[in-house]
């Protein structure tokens, strides 16, 4: 046998050859030193691949954290609701779903919306009067797009669909994202005008699920969702469907309770506006604001910072003013949901639980915003309470540190943080397409360190070289739940300049532009979410 090509040897090492061919190559290798060496190289590559990809690892106590919150399998398993896990918005189901709508009137949907592949709110809504079967389909290029079911609620409209070939096989339902211009899914008003072109998508066991959020949208009543699809399952074609909807029933079923209660702490004012009990979700609407005196002081601080560093550095991607962390509990004091709290002393960062989505928008005055947080629906007739946990204030910071770039790593302390500049180099920031396309070399800092529990959260930074040039930076970071022997939480930050910097200066000053103060309440503010 002649020496196999490198491609064949690669297939040999990866065990991709048929038995007969595998044995032929194996026999050849035993008598050919060159091929034996090539195979050795390929096996070393493989070993390196495995070695690299098997790291990093999780801490030893990871399993214990999970098991602690599980109920044993004597009954139908469910998680305890007190201080459970998860920083990402959870799509998992609690059990004990109750139906509050008479089955006489409910249109029963038996598709994906009644499975636990979707969130609890959709499951509840699927058994109510705000759900309907669509059963609309269109076929092109031998591929059928079939809209299955729709849920029309005051907070959101959700549609499920499948994609099938001519033999009925289910294909990948993945649409590209709403930013992609090829596939358009649009909510139209009664005049045919686009209201919402932004939608969320997920794959629920092979069914595609598209969701429009109606939070903050007042003008929708009865209208149409338009699917104008140019690419599915790798094929180009033309799939067009219109699904009409009507919000009348959803509006009838929704119960809105006006709260209008306020609390002030250190110049920060929190006002609970209302709570909306919709079929597929429960929403809390509240505002954060400042007293006039606090607003004046904060504006003055921000303006001082802008004079020093410019508005881009101070204001881009930063929102000054208060935000809150809170939890929702029932009459028995059991926590059913929470947002932006530190939950337990072994969590180094804020977490949320049972939160489906959250939006916010600025109001007229500086530092004031309105927030709408959407949770899994309320269970049955239980009374719920809002309990404020923490007030966070994002303010300009006043801290700078200068060091030599030849003398790294460099360690410094600030406000409960011990930070080390590990390295400074030139790199392409692969978070941004243009940077990658242009191969733009940006100055990159790697910072790491430890922070005390509930210490201020560091915000934006700016970098100044020894010639007085100041650079805006993009930053990303993570605070872990791992602690050191002093009980402080590990964190990592990467800072990238937004412009190209080819030479690293000899001396650098890091300026902290903003930070978020964490204030725990001394007395409880607990508000009933019912009349």
């Amino acid at each position: 046998m002649k020496c196999p090509k490198e491609d064949k040897l690669l297939q040999f090492v990866d065990e991709l050859l048929e038995q007969e061919e595998y044995e032929q190559v194996q026999k050849h290798i035993k008598s050919c030193l060159y091929c034996e060496q090539q195979v050795e190289v390929l096996k070393n590559e493989q070993a390196f691949l495995a070695e690299t990809l098997k790291t990093p690892t999780l801490p030893d106590h990871f399993a214990d954290l999970i098991v602690a919150d599980l109920e044993p399998y004597k009954q139908r398993p469910k998680r305890k609701v007190k201080w459970a896990l998860g920083a990402a918005a959870s799509l998992l189901m609690a059990t004990g779903i109750s139906m509050s709508v008479s089955p006489t009137f409910a249109q029963f949907i038996s598709g994906i919306f009644t499975s636990d592949s979707v969130d609890e709110g959709i499951q509840i809504a699927a058994k109510s009067e705000i759900s309907k079967q669509l059963n609309m389909e269109v076929t092109d290029q031998g591929i059928t797009l079939r809209l299955e079911d729709m849920i029309v609620d005051t907070s959101r409209i959700v549609v499920s669909y499948v994609v099938q070939d001519s033999n009925g096989n289910v294909l990948d339902p993945y649409f590209t994202s709403a930013e992609d211009k090829e596939n358009k899914i649009t909510l139209l008003d009664s005049a045919g005008k686009n209201i919402i072109t932004d939608w969320g998508w997920r794959n629920a066991d092979g069914h595609g699920v598209v969701e429009f959020s109606l939070i903050g949208i007042d003008s929708v009543d009865a209208s149409t969702i338009q699917f104008d699809i140019a690419k599915i399952a790798g094929e180009r074609g033309n799939w067009y469907l219109e699904a009409p909807f009507d919000l009348t029933k959803a509006n009838e079923l929704q119960k809105v309770v006006g709260i209008d209660d306020s609390y002030t702490l250190n110049g920060n004012k929190i006002t609970l506006d209302e709570i909306r009990y919709a079929t597929s979700s429960t929403e809390i609407v509240y505002e954060t604001d400042l007293t006039d005196e606090a607003r004046k002081a904060l504006e003055a601080d921000v303006n001082r910072k802008v004079k020093q560093f410019g508005t881009n550095i101070v204001n881009t991607f930063e929102t000054y003013g208060p935000t809150i962390g809170y939890y929702i509990e029932n009459e028995q004091g059991e926590v059913v949901s929470y947002t932006n709290v530190f939950a337990r002393e072994d969590r180094g960062h804020m977490v949320s639980y049972n939160l489906l989505s959250g939006t916010n928008a600025p109001l007229d005055k500086f530092g004031s915003r309105v927030w709408t947080d959407s949770y899994s629906p309320k269970k049955g007739k239980e009374n719920l309470y809002f309990v404020l946990d923490t007030v966070y204030e994002t303010v300009p910071a006043d801290f700078s540190v200068t060091f030599s770039t030849k003398d790294l790593p460099y360690t410094f302390d600030y406000n409960g943080h011990e930070m080390t500049v590990e390295s400074i180099g030139n790199d392409v920031n692969d978070m941004f397409e243009e940077a990658v396309k242009e191969q733009r070399l940006q100055m990159k800092f790697q910072l790491s360190g430890y922070k005390e529990w509930k210490s201020n959260m560091l915000g934006k930074w700016a970098i100044e070289d020894n010639k007085g040039n100041i650079y805006e930076v993009h930053y990303s970071g993570t605070t872990y739940d791992e602690t050191d022997d002093k009980g402080r939480f590990k964190f990592d930050n990467s800072l990238y300049t937004t412009v190209e910097v080819k030479e690293i200066p000899e001396e650098i000053t890091l300026h902290l532009i903003s930070e978020t103060r964490v204030t725990e309440l001394k007395e409880q503010w607990r508000v009933p979410l019912f009349k």
Partner: protein, 200 residues
């Protein structure tokens, strides 16, 4: 114990998993820790490279293990438990990643385990090559990256990967081969594989 079969597939002894599952379903929730500890690290290595954010990967994995626990009664023992678990866990993570479009919070993955095993020069060289490998991996299409991770980080057979991802076995083989070739042929910046392929 791994058993190498004639067509290059590998099979874990499933009996261990089935024994533990029975204990869990009988009410011994602590036994579930054995399942988590067995699969957590290879799964984490995989999810981390899909989300590119350690905290997010940890949280998603916690949710996935809880989901597996809650659906444990649905495992019918017809296929391997590993395939079933991975299917539930990977699908959960992929669904969330795609929905949330984790593009803007990528973190450089630190290979901590290479420290303390070699001389400083070798450690530096290995870290640099690992970094290059991670960059190359990040450029691969999602499905090719996932197949590589399942094969090398999770030691899954091609049959298992085909079951987990619900794609034909031939596709798994082709995609793995294609992905490996791409890693080896990234000649622009040089790198470990290029250097190795030009030897001798």
């Amino acid at each position: 114990m791994l058993v190498l079969l004639s067509e290059g597939t590998r099979r874990d002894t499933m009996e261990d998993d089935v024994v533990v599952i029975k204990q869990v379903l009988a009410g011994n929730k602590q036994a579930y820790a054995d399942i988590i500890n067995k699969y957590k690290n290879p799964l984490y290595a995989t999810v981390l490279r899909m989300t590119k954010n350690p905290q997010t990967a940890q949280d998603l994995l916690q949710e996935a293990f809880i989901k597996v626990y809650e659906q444990l009664k649905k495992y019918d023992q017809k296929g391997s438990f590993k395939s079933w678990l991975y299917r539930v866990a990977i699908n959960h993570c992929l669904d969330t990643v795609r929905k949330k479009n984790f593009q803007t919070q990528s973190e450089e993955i630190q290979d901590e385990q290479l420290i303390n095993t070699s001389s400083p020069e070798v450690v530096f060289l290995k870290k640099e090559r690992s970094r290059q490998l991670e960059q190359l991996m990040a450029q691969l299409p999602e499905i090719e990256r996932l197949i590589l991770l399942l094969r090398y980080a999770n030691e899954c057979s091609y049959v298992e990967i085909s079951e987990m991802l619900d794609i034909p076995l031939s596709d798994v083989r082709n995609k793995l081969h294609r992905a490996k070739k791409k890693l080896r042929l990234n000649i622009e910046g040089g790198g470990y594989f290029y250097e190795m392929s030009k030897r001798g």
